[in-house]
Amino acid sequence: MEHGLLRRSMATFGLAAALTLGGATLAAAQTTLRIFTGGQQRPDVMRQIVDVYMKNNPNVKVDVEVGGATSEQQQQYLNTVLASKDSALDLVLIDVIRPAQWSAAQWAEPLDTYLGAEKDAVMARYLPAYRAANIVGGKVIALPYFADAQFLYYRKDLLEKYGLQPPKTWDELKAAAQKIMAGENNPNLRGFETAGAPIEGTVCTYLVPMWGAGEDLTKDGKLNLAGDAAKKPFALWADLKAANVTPPNLAEIPTDRIRQNFQAGNLIFAMTWGYVWNRAQNDADSTVKGKVGVVPLPGFTADKQATCIGGWQVAVSAFSKNKAEAAKLARFLSSPDVSKMQAVLASHLPVFPAVYEDKDVLAANPWFAQALPVVQAARSRPVTPRYTEVSEIIRTNMNAFLAGTKAADAALADMNGRLGAIFR
């Protein structure tokens, strides 16, 4: 199957590789670039992509180094390498929450000079959220590689059966879930799940309802937890728990458990990332094939729907010895052609709006048509060099609240105190 896809991609992009191969023997100094990627960002697809690059640039050899599977394992390794100012890595794939930290730590080579006069034109082509996430203090810190976002997944079959429309507000979601749960009378069927364990995804569990109430964590760089909107997430999750729409163990739910439960047919609604669609649709053991729909996450009113963005960016290491060549490769990896190739081969969400409408991309991923408006409206988690601390404060409080060990007021007070010290 992998080979079939490869052949298809070769045909799709019409790679005239042979044409350039002839010149290779004359190539002078060979440059070797090493790019670091996590085990989960489809290194196999990355290898196919850099093969294309190497064929067109015979003087460049690209090694793909695959690091730990989770974002944390990768960061552990990268911290060590970069704190040692080691030149072993030329390019690094980084999570969308990292550019501010990388910029502050001076680990990423700003790409402005390499983009030159084209900078504004190049950046304008990306989805707005990715343009914003990768420009820190006016400098381009990284270039988007692929997009991701949280969606509201729903069971099309069940909503149709009860004559319901996909919810646009949290109230509609609660009502729909209760109606279906009562009608189905299946003890294993739950209304809704989102991440509640003390992990990164739980930050979105707090932020999405806050956005849905029309506010953000910060306002003009100042902490914005004083208003009612800051209390809304707590009230929402308490309400859904009391109504039995969410399970009693929400505080132990990590990201993938949501997919597993959804795929096993135990969930009506799920708030989770883009990878779930393909798994639910294509996995041999999925019980919900053809029954999956995606829409933007609800707001407290229909005009305030909002979603968390995710996704991965290519940064050039500040310690690379081949920055110019590395920046060239980064631009290639962040091009519409590569975005399309990833969409076809790996179902990665493109970072260019136009690619969502490409017919090959839609043929491989029909649901991208519904994904585009969600990704377009998606928002960034707070952009600050100390994001990891911000994240940790939000997720531990959220987790303690969901576990029932901390009251909403206490959690909010703790967040206020500790976040206040960061956003001064």
Partner: protein
Amino acid sequence: MSTIKHRLTPLERSERRLGFAMLAPAFLLLAAVVVYPIADLIRASFTFLHLAQPWMGNPFVGFDNYAKALGDERFLEAVWHTVLYVIVTVPGAVVVGLGLALLANKPFTIKWPVRLGLLLPWALPLVFSGLIFRWFFEYNQGIANAILRGLGFAPLNWLTDPTLAFLTICLAIIWKASSFVALVLLAGLQTIPKSYYEAAEVDGASAWQQFREITLPMLRPAIFVALIFRTITAIQTFDIPYAMTNGGPGNATETLAMYIHKTTVDFLDIGYGSALAVLMFIVSAVITSGYLRYTRRDPGRH
């Protein structure tokens, strides 16, 4: 360790030279691998060093980081949790390990399944041990709640109730660590001459008396080794709570090592993280030297 000074005979002098020569490889290895990292850690602990704030440089700040730690509620909570883990899992693992070692020391005709049973927990990488126990105690798919449901009880929130989460983590640690203890103690048991027991049997000693009068005293050095290492590793408890609860609910099960990990790897606050690491070292050193003193005073060698 006699303190009486006397003239060294030529034999003693040559033995001493040989002694130093035999210690040399160990110290060479240490010098090559860890001396610089430890020196660097101690230096960093007296400086401000935050990788996400490189413009602040790396100034010397004296004991600021240490003072900050003593006023850091999160740090003090982590120390308290770590102490609780030590108090529960060190005796727990030693008692369970002793039990396993005694059981495994029975004269089996086929030994390898028993040995394998001792080795498996030790050989299952720590990261995965934690994940497996997390799975056992999951609310819906866990075997613990499956048993409770089967018996007609309500399922429990094993991993999201602070007390239950602490206890399940302790259980996982004891399971994993007791196999190490059992291996050390089993080796100790094998060096006890069978004749001692035969003699005791002739004297009509009961099994319990034999255990108290022969096994336990003869095992003392091995139990001591197990205790000291179990304590050092318990102070460094990281992987199992990290995998099972990631410190949750909130930070109710967070250990000192987890907090240090967060400070250095996630927050990139190397200066403060280094000071926390040095404090952790001091805590372990105090406890360990207590053990060492106790055994050195103890003349109960045969």
